[in-house]
């Protein structure tokens, strides 16, 4: 058992042993797939959902129960964009600590990006991740590389990686520079029906940049990353997907222009989905302040106008998913001059609370819209059985309190790293319990 000063506790589980039956009573159960949003009970048995019912069957009345009154009971959330750093940079994060952070953040599944050392670009490396995930408190769907070594030259063996358990491919961290290689990737991926997840960045425009190009970067004297560095590749990859009839998922949308490009592509019928991250919803370039390296990520925090359009995109469905782009770094990579600092922030353990505070509480997203963007749709995009409380599917459930105010204190994180952009922020709502295959893997105890 791992317990933090605030009572957050991870329970080690032997997943080979079937979970005992469990009754979650009197919670507000929100299951958009089955059109449920009401106070009721959820019954788990044999590691799967047994029923969502107002009347608890006799055989479960004496079973272990959890009182979820005043809480929301939702299908286990999925964060489809995280960096677990293993293999290679286990000093930043491991599969074990990253999945603990996921469980503490209410995520029963994560999709981990392939830019590890070595990169996840072949079957054996995908298998390595999956084997290490077996006893972890969150499921892992690895994302394989598009190109060998993420070098943008030759396609990585998608078929073999998918056979080993990869659910998507991406060269996340950069774009595939050559349009012909990217075209081949879209074409080659079609028989597997997996999305190509695109990190959109034209390096000729972004190189040397450390934050959004604009008034703040000029004032700070920091070279900027223009919005067009992202949008040019968003446009290219949308066109390639359209031309090849391929599937594209645009990662970490940060600009108003990208939202417009994706919206137009969806109208034309392009097979596109898109995600944004909590920091683009809650923060802007102004938050960089005086060279705060914990506000340095790629793509960078943009302007208030970009943020506004991203929020519109979430509301009108242009942006399908909220993912954290959890990117752990050791202190010596952040406690340096701004231009020397690594890009990236962690997010697994603040994602839900940021979304609840900035979108749900403000009435921008309804509770069921939030569940769709953080559970239903990511599961659908990766083609896995999750994101609903349909009887028979694995009992992966998140229970959240949407009211309690708290202040972000990185010392309570399960992640190995501390590089959050929300340190000291006052947020509302907490994950109180995470259930994986019917086992309680995380609980917040007073």
């Amino acid at each position: 058992m791992l317990r933090k000063p605030n009572g957050a506790t991870i329970f080690p589980i032997d997943f080979k042993i079937k979970a005992e039956p469990l009754v979650i009573k009197n919670g507000r159960v929100i299951d958009p797939v089955n059109n449920i949003d009401k106070i009721t009970n959820v019954i788990l048995s044999d590691g799967v959902i047994k029923a969502v019912t107002d009347d608890i069957p006799a055989e479960f009345i004496s079973k272990k129960s959890i009182d979820a009154s005043g809480k929301w009971v939702i299908p286990g959330m999925m964060d489809m964009h995280v960096h677990l750093r293993e293999p290679g940079r286990e000093d930043k994060e491991t599969i074990a600590t990253g999945t603990q952070a996921a469980a503490a953040g209410g995520f029963t599944a994560v999709a981990c990006m392939p830019n590890t050392t070595p990169a996840l670009d072949e079957e054996s490396k995908i298998r390595y991740v999956i084997q290490h995930a077996e006893q972890c408190p969150s499921k892992i769907y690895p994302v394989g590389a598009i190109t060998k070594g993420l070098e943008g030259e030759e396609l990585a063996p998608m078929g073999e990686m998918i056979r080993a358990g990869a659910r998507a491919v991406s060269d996340d961290g950069k774009s595939v520079a050559k349009s012909n290689i990217m075209r081949n990737a879209f074409n080659y991926a079609k028989p597997f029906n997996i999305p190509i997840i695109c990190h959109c960045e034209d390096p000729a425009l972004s190189q040397k940049g450390h934050m959004n190009e604009g008034v703040v970067s000029t004032r700070l004297g920091v070279r900027g990353i223009p919005t067009i560095a992202e949008e040019i590749i968003v446009a290219r990859d949308l066109l390639l997907a359209e031309y090849t009839h391929g599937r594209v998922h645009i990662a970490h949308v940060s600009t108003a222009g990208s939202v417009r490009l994706i919206r137009d592509a969806k109208k034309r019928g392009v097979n596109v989905t898109a995600e944004t991250c909590p920091h683009y919803i809650a923060q802007t370039e102004e938050d960089v302040g005086l060279y705060d390296t914990h506000k340095k990520m790629n793509p960078p925090l943009r302007t208030a106008k970009d943020r506004e359009v991203i929020i519109e995109g979430l509301q009108d469905g242009t942006i399908d998913v909220i993912a954290s782009d959890h990117a752990p770094h050791v202190p010596e990579e952040k406690d340096v001059e701004f231009e020397a600092a690594n890009f990236g922030v962690i997010g697994l353990e603040t994602s839900f609370s940021v979304v609840n505070t900035h979108l749900v509480k403000k009435g921008i997203l309804s509770p069921s819209e939030m569940v769709k963007k953080m559970s239903v749709i990511p599961n659908r995009i990766l083609g896995v059985h999750g994101g609903s409380l349909t009887p028979g599917i694995p009992a992966d459930i998140t229970i959240v309190d949407t009211e309690t105010p708290w202040k972000v204190d990185p010392k309570n994180f399960f992640s190995k790293s501390r590089n959050t952009s929300f340190e000291g922020y006052k947020l509302q709502g907490l994950v109180v319990m995470t259930i994986l295959d019917g086992h309680i893997v995380f609980e917040r105890k007073e």
């Binding site: 008034v215 004297g221 010596e332 340096v336 701004f338």
Partner: protein, 308 residues
Amino acid sequence: MGLSSRHLLGLEGVSKEDIELILNTADSFHEVLDREIKVVPTLRGKTIVNLFYENSTRTRISFELAEKRLSASPLNFSSSSSSVNKGESLRDTIQNIEAMKIDMVVVRHGAAGVPHFLTQCTDAVIINAGDGLHEHPTQALLDIMTIRRKLGRLEGLKVAIIGDIFHSRVARSNAWGMSTLGMNVVLCGPPTLLPQPMDSIGVPVTFNLDEALEGADVVMFLRLQLERQASGAFPTIREYRERWGMDTEKLNKLSKNVLIMHPGPINRGIELSSDVADGPKSVILEQVTNGVAVRMAVLYLLGGGENA
């Protein structure tokens, strides 16, 4: 009465009163520079580290001379003779130096924000001698001092700053410092070397040289880094010189009291023709002299020295 900040990190946000205090103090140190014995004892016993991570001749010499003339003990550290090449972090470097009991740090670094970062790593007083594209406050102060000494006033003067604005910490510090003092700054250069968005420094910007020069009391040219040509910022030196450079013919169309300035080093025949650089309107060497006085003033005011 001292300055309201214990560091000099930039001129953005520095009050008019503080700038005027530095200028007035610099004027009194200027007199010291005209004496036969150019040394005062005001910072005796203070150790000042000149931490230069970028090549610099005049700024480093100017600071060192200012320190010596205040009787401080300068210690020079430049990246070629430091542990930087061994991969030591900036925090470790500054904390090691601080452990040797030093009082002030004058820092130049290629990355913006390093002076701010150092204030988080050390208790020593930090003076910015140029950080990336961000600020070079003592350069702007010496520019302003030169204008005040030549023209006797500052408020309402029009100053045109010409050249590679985007990459210029001198342009930024001057634009902010001069605006605070009620001067009207206009920035001018090729559109490829202006900030994006153009007006993001907060003063008017034009790429029309004639517009910038019209009615200007002071025209300051910035050094052109010739490698910008390779990055596609301008096509040829000749075209740059024709459109953004100053020669006698253009100079003759300006107010006869106009001051021509340049922070140096000059690319002769590019930003300024030699006859302009060496001509009667040029105050370039006075800028250099005033640089020592301004740096003495800053060191004195931040170093807690006794009266000069």
